[in-house]
């Protein structure tokens, strides 16, 4: 079973600030991490590999410093990492990213399963996975909270819904996106860390992918554009309720009843 996992380097969300003058994000000195949902994706891939054999490949698209998150996954036990990095890709939206990743899958060729995290915590769109599935014509199971069964040719998995879960069966190859509930990601092993330190990921540019259409990517190829960004204005007129427990509770319940919701 050969598994491809798409991962992304994101800024730790607690550190995000906009430059009040320019409205762009301040990136200097901001801590970058492996997207938390992608850790579950990598973990699940490693568990399948441990059971069935094969190879786990991680792919990320980003600047050269994104090699760091590839190394982290190598430390966890991933076999190979590929960094997709090219100036032509700068400014790509979800469609352009999905197109690029679908070309990566074409070049890799021999895979049975693609795993992504539910979403990246920077853009929070959750769109790239389904869009890659569309570009590659793959069946997809989103929001997977458990893989019940997997073989070389099929998968049976639970899809988390708002009111419970659906069980789906699909032939492979397929793409799945995973939620946090699916597993508890392992830490990098000491041996893994040693290996990761020396590990040099493959780097592919658009020219390395045969038939890649540069018109589909970058700012120009992206159908969506950011029109403006701003820091949300929060106008909370908070009121602290004083008194002992009984008094405070009485005041609060009075206010709740005035809302006519309960």
């Amino acid at each position: 079973m050969n598994i491809v996992v798409f991962i992304k380097q994101v800024v730790a969300t607690t550190n995000v600030k906009l430059d009040p003058e320019t409205g762009t994000m301040i990136r200097d000195g901001v801590e970058c991490i492996l997207n938390p949902f992608d850790e579950y994706a990598v973990e699940e891939a490693l568990r399948i590999k441990e059971k069935m054999g094969g190879k786990v490949t991680v792919v990320t698209m980003g600047p050269p410093q994104a090699k760091e998150i590839i190394r982290k996954t190598i430390g966890m036990g991933v076999d190979e990492g590929i960094l997709i990095s090219d100036r032509a890709l700068a400014g790509s939206d979800t469609w352009a990213t999905a197109y690029t990743l679908s070309q990566v899958l074409k070049k890799i060729g021999d895979y049975q399963l693609v795993i992504t995290g539910k979403q990246a915590v920077d853009g929070d769109t959750a769109q790239v996975g389904p869009e890659v599935a569309a570009c590659e014509g793959l069946p997809m199971i989103a929001w997977v909270r458990k893989i019940e069964e997997i073989s070389e040719t099929s998968i049976r998995a639970e899809r988390l819904m708002e009111d419970g879960y659906d069980v789906l069966e699909s032939p492979l190859p397929a793409l799945i996106s995973v939620v946090k509930e699916i597993n508890e990601p392992r830490l990098e092993s000491l041996r893994g860390k040693m290996k990761a330190k020396k590990y040099e990921p493959k780097v592919w540019g658009v020219a390395d992918m045969p038939g890649f259409d540069v018109a589909q990517v970058g700012l120009k190829g992206s159908p969506t554009k950011v029109f403006k960004t701003f820091t949300p204005k929060r106008q909370y007129k908070g009121e602290m309720i004083a008194g002992d427990a009984a008094q405070a509770a009485a005041t609060l319940v009075g206010k709740i009843k005035e809302m006519n919701i309960v």
Binding site: T13, T14, T94, V121, P130, A142, E181, A248, M259
Partner: protein, 333 residues
């Protein structure tokens, strides 16, 4: 692409188990305004089986027209047939805008439709407007866990697609006298490719307990203390008719299942009243609940971040305040 060829505002009317989801009504409310701003029609797309009556309901809530695609293959949500049918409808009728709920269903298959149409899509919008000059959709959405708001446009491709956060848009009043047209079409199952098939549906929560749908949510955080003490959270939820939510810490500790988790790595909720009991208010938690109408925080730490977003705050011991609240609520009933 001549964008002028694309007209009307479409909403995908989501259904689960043959019942329209609440977000469908909210989309009609939001879509009605956009359609009126453009001077165009509001069209609802309904995919399902034996749901003709729901089509009339969509008219009563604001649609001018409904395309109802009926097939046993569309009864349960699967990405491939849903995407195929919606994509084909878009190609045939050329809408300017397609909206869907930012739900488990909408966020799964709507991007697939966008990619097949090779058009742009904006996820999880909390604001929708029409640019008065260019007549394009301005989709505003939170990113980076709600730290940044971004307005996204899709100028050159059509349709302009977006998913919309549930509970943010307001539905219209039902009006049974509204007139509209229902176009019904049967779809032959054998014409649809369905590889990832639904073989079972497990409903774990009633709608009232489902935090995505609930009007009132009572969430417990680490400050609740221990698993046994979490009964307090359940008791208040029961007394007030709310659903139970949980912070990440509480889910990670195994006190409550993940399906109850509110926040960036859990669910985004927008109830009328949100109780945060012993929740410190980490930014990842705030990202999932700060658009709630009323936020009530109880915490023994007066400096807890949660008080910065709270409408009402009580500094005190949960074990004393919450039982009093339950008592007061029951007294008044």
């Amino acid at each position: 692409m001549n964008t002028d060829d694309y007209k009307n505002v479409w909403i995908y009317a989501e259904q689960r188990a043959g019942k329209l989801s609440t977000v469908s009504y909210e989309l009609l409310g939001a879509g009605r305004k956009l359609a009126d701003d453009l001077g165009q029609q509001l069209v609802a797309i309904l995919l399902g089986s034996n749901m003709r009556a729901a089509a009339d309901e969509l008219i009563a809530y604001g649609a001018d027209k409904v395309y109802y695609m009926d097939s046993p293959a569309l009864e349960k949500f699967a990405d491939e047939p849903y995407a195929r049918v919606l994509t084909d409808l878009v190609k045939e009728h050329k809408p300017a805008i397609v909206l869907a709920g930012a739900t488990a269903i909408g966020r799964s298959f709507i991007p697939r439709v966008a990619a097949e149409l090779r058009t742009g899509m904006t996820a999880d919008c909390t604001g929708l407007d029409i640019d008065p000059e260019k007549k394009i959709l301005l989709g505003t959405r939170p990113a980076y866990g709600g730290n940044i708001m971004a307005t996204i446009i899709c100028e050159e491709k059509r349709p302009q697609m977006a998913t919309v956060r549930h509970k943010v848009m307001k539905p219209l009043e039902k009006d049974d006298s509204r007139k509209g047209e229902v176009m019904e079409k049967s779809i032959v199952e054998s014409e649809l490719t369905i590889r990832a098939k639904v073989v079972d549906i497990i409903k774990e929560m009633e709608d009232t307990c489902n935090i995505a749908e609930a009007d009132i949510i009572v969430t417990g955080g680490r400050g609740v203390g221990c698993k046994e003490n979490f009964a307090l959270v359940h008791d208040l939820a029961a007394a007030i008719g709310g659903a139970v939510g949980a912070s990440r810490a509480v889910v990670d500790a195994g006190w409550v299942p993940y399906s109850h988790q509110v926040g960036q790595t859990g669910k985004t909720v927008c109830p009328k009243i949100y109780f945060a009991l012993g929740v410190s208010g980490a930014i990842q938690h705030l990202a999932g609940m700060q658009s709630s109408d009323v936020i009530i925080a109880v915490n023994n730490n007066p400096d807890a971040e949660i008080f910065k977003v709270a409408t009402y705050g009580i500094v005190g011991n949960l074990n004393e305040v919450v039982p009093e609240m339950i008592k007061q609520l029951k007294n008044g009933a």
